[in-house]
């Protein structure tokens, strides 16, 4: 009975998102040749995060979903990052 999603996402929006994703992919390949030292990882992860944000928000429809789903997704990512950070309390300080 429920059809809370009467909103239909136009094809155009998906095409624009793809374009952005391709641009970001190109950028991340291009900066590979630049030696950023310790910031290489940061740069790579930053760009990947923006790309995945686009996929999550538009392709996976989070932008148009109810708040609690958005909160769940956010919390899961926060949890994972926190676990990685706590793990590095060991490795970084050895």
């Amino acid at each position: 009975m429920e059809n809370e999603k009467h909103h239909i996402v136009p094809y155009r929006l998906y095409a624009v998102v793809l374009l952005l994703l391709l641009v970001l992919t190109f950028i991340s390949i291009a900066i590979t040749d630049i030696n950023l030292g310790a910031f290489t990882v940061v740069g790579a992860l930053l760009l990947a995060s923006i790309k995945s944000g686009l996929v999550l928000i538009y392709f996976m429809h989070l932008k148009f979903d109810k708040a609690y789903i958005q909160i769940m997704v956010g919390m899961v990512f926060i949890l994972f990052i926190a676990i990685v950070l706590v793990t590095f309390f060991d490795y970084y300080f050895r």
Partner: protein
């Protein structure tokens, strides 16, 4: 699929015969109540196997030197004992039996969100259990690594590891699917009028638990896969000879296995939160605080895993960080104990079997919890790690916690599940003997650990002999109590006096349906009208 108009509302779920007949009507049933009982019977069977292994260990330890087995066999026995008890009993635990049976009824639903997935969970559980058992019976010897499968031994040992590893992996799926089902059920199928803040505490505990099952289990899943790959291909991920770090294995393993203990205890606490108000005939003290404590334990519990690894070689920073966080996670648990006792205060106590189990739960859980602070403190842990003290700690808190709560819950919900009353005299005798045996079995281990007796050794110094004898005698007394309890439950289920719908004057929705309930629980989905939530006694 048109179901509701065809299923009669006056036939109990035990009697109903649908598409299938006989045994097939049970093992292919998608009725959450039958699935709960399927878990109950299979878990009880596996539990008895685990008990026998435990008794075998205690018999070996009744005297120094070899009594009935040598070191290698002893290693296999404590490994299989651990794998069964952890992965097949206490982790599925109360959610598999009482979660399945009671959750939909307590929130006013006809079943869980995905009934077929629920049945699959049980089948996957059986498959996983079967795999682990084959590892013991076939191949080059039963696993002997301890249930923790530590690298590098887990990929070097000649024992039959792969089926056990794979079995644990499969069992993890069962846990994940149950968690998934329960979360969706609570989000989508609460009866009209039952807001989140009116949902009883057992469902709340299942909610917190389900998130841990969902998010933590995959990590141990992939870790076990990596151990298997290390065994088969030698990829080097945990092998120091190839640059791998065995401590990384420990991190990954405990990132799951610590939250797993909250999977064990949260539903157990949830059941206690149901029993105590009912048998105090008084509303629960601090409902909202208990909900927040449940979620706080679930969340903080993700970040304390390193307290299993204080002596492993972690950095000093990691050591004291984990120690501080461990003390933090103890706080909400203590708050719960305070709230339970406050509920009893000035209540009208109905001294029945479930209450005996609940009260003794608080006692043994406190001992377990306080001893947890002793091993959670970095300085004392260094001395006590891998001694019998730790064994005492986790048996008090896990067996004491989950076990006592489970027995309390089975007696509490027995009339609802089977439509009959258990024999209270025998139930209480069983409880008393069990509790005395339990205390005699595990208390000496605190002393032994402090005196320096290591765990997981089949032999020990002569000075530890007397305390070990006491402990072994305790295991026999406890087993006697266990047998009395179980036989009583079996006989009562078959031929106990017929039970009424609400023998305890409980206030939650399961007491409004017949004992035993009809297949779809309610004639019509109730409109939940309690102004102030559950537990309103007048």
């Amino acid at each position: 699929m048109q179901a509701s108009s065809k299923i009669p509302t006056d036939v109990s779920y035990l009697e109903y015969e649908g598409k299938h007949k006989g045994l097939r009507a049970w093992i292919f049933s998608t009725d959450h109540k039958r699935i709960g009982l399927l878990y109950l019977y299979s878990m009880m069977t596996l539990f008895l196997v685990g008990v026998i292994l435990g008794l075998a260990m205690r018999f070996e330890l009744i005297a120094p030197g070899k009594t009935i087995m040598d070191a290698k066999d002893y290693n296999a026995v404590f490994t299989v004992h651990g794998v069964i008890m952890i992965f097949m009993i206490v982790i599925p635990g109360l959610p598999a039996v009482f979660g399945n049976f009671m959750l939909p009824i307590m929130i006013g639903a006809k079943d869980v969100a995905f009934p077929k997935l629920n049945l699959l969970s049980w089948w996957v559980y059986i498959a996983g259990a079967f795999l682990v058992i084959t590892s013991v019976l076939f191949g080059d010897g039963s696993p002997d690594t301890g249930w923790t499968f530590y690298a590098p031994y887990s990929f070097k040992t000649g024992a039959n590891m792969l089926p056990a590893i794979f079995g644990a992996f499969v069992l993890g799926f069962s846990s994940i699917l149950t968690g998934l089902n329960f979360i969706v059920t609570m989000h989508r199928m609460r009866a009209p009028g039952m807001t989140w803040t009116k949902m009883p505490l057992f469902p709340w505990s299942l909610y917190g638990t389900a998130w841990i099952q969902l998010l933590a289990t995959p990590i141990v899943g992939i870790t076990l896969v990596l151990v298997a790959l290390e065994r088969i291909f030698g990829i080097g991920v945990f092998d120091p000879a190839l640059g791998g770090d065995p401590i990384l294995y420990q991190h990954l393993f405990w990132i799951y296995s610590h939250p797993a203990v909250y999977v064990m205890i949260l539903p157990a606490m949830g059941a206690i939160s149901e029993i105590i108000p009912t048998f105090s005939q008084k509303h629960i003290f601090g409902y909202k605080v208990l909900v927040v404590s449940t979620l706080a334990i679930a969340f903080i519990g993700y970040f304390v895993w390193g307290h299993h690894m204080f002596t492993s070689g972690m950095s000093g920073t990691a050591q004291y960080t984990f120690s501080i966080l461990t003390f933090l996670v103890a706080i909400p648990s203590a708050i719960k104990v305070f709230n339970w006792i406050s509920t009893m205060y000035k209540g009208s106590i109905n001294v029945q079997t479930p209450f005996y189990w609940a009260a003794s739960f608080i006692f043994v859980f406190m001992i377990g919890g306080l001893s947890g602070l002793v091993v959670g403190a970095l300085a004392t842990n260094v001395y006590l790690h891998d001694t019998a003290f730790v064994v005492a700690h986790f048996h008090f808190i896990v067996f004491g916690g989950v076990g006592f709560s489970f027995f309390g819950a089975i007696h509490y919900w027995f009339p609802k599940m089977f439509g009959r009353m258990y024999d209270a005299t025998w139930a209480n005798i069983g409880w008393l003997i069990f509790t005395i045996g339990f205390l005699a079995l595990y208390s000496p281990m605190f002393y032994l650990g402090m005196q320096g007796m290591p765990r997981r050794y089949y032999d020990y110094l002569e000075e530890f002999h007397a305390a070990n004898i006491l402990s072994t005698l305790g295991s026999w007394v406890m087993t006697l109590g266990l047998i009395i309890v179980i036989i009583n439950l079996f006989r009562s289920a078959k031929s106990g006096p017929i039970a009424v719908a609400n023998p305890w004057n409980g206030k939650t929705l399961e007491w409004t349906v017949p004992s035993p309930p009809p297949v779809e629980n309610f004639d019509e989905i109730p409109e939940y009208q309690e102004k102030d939530g559950p537990y309103e006694y007048q």
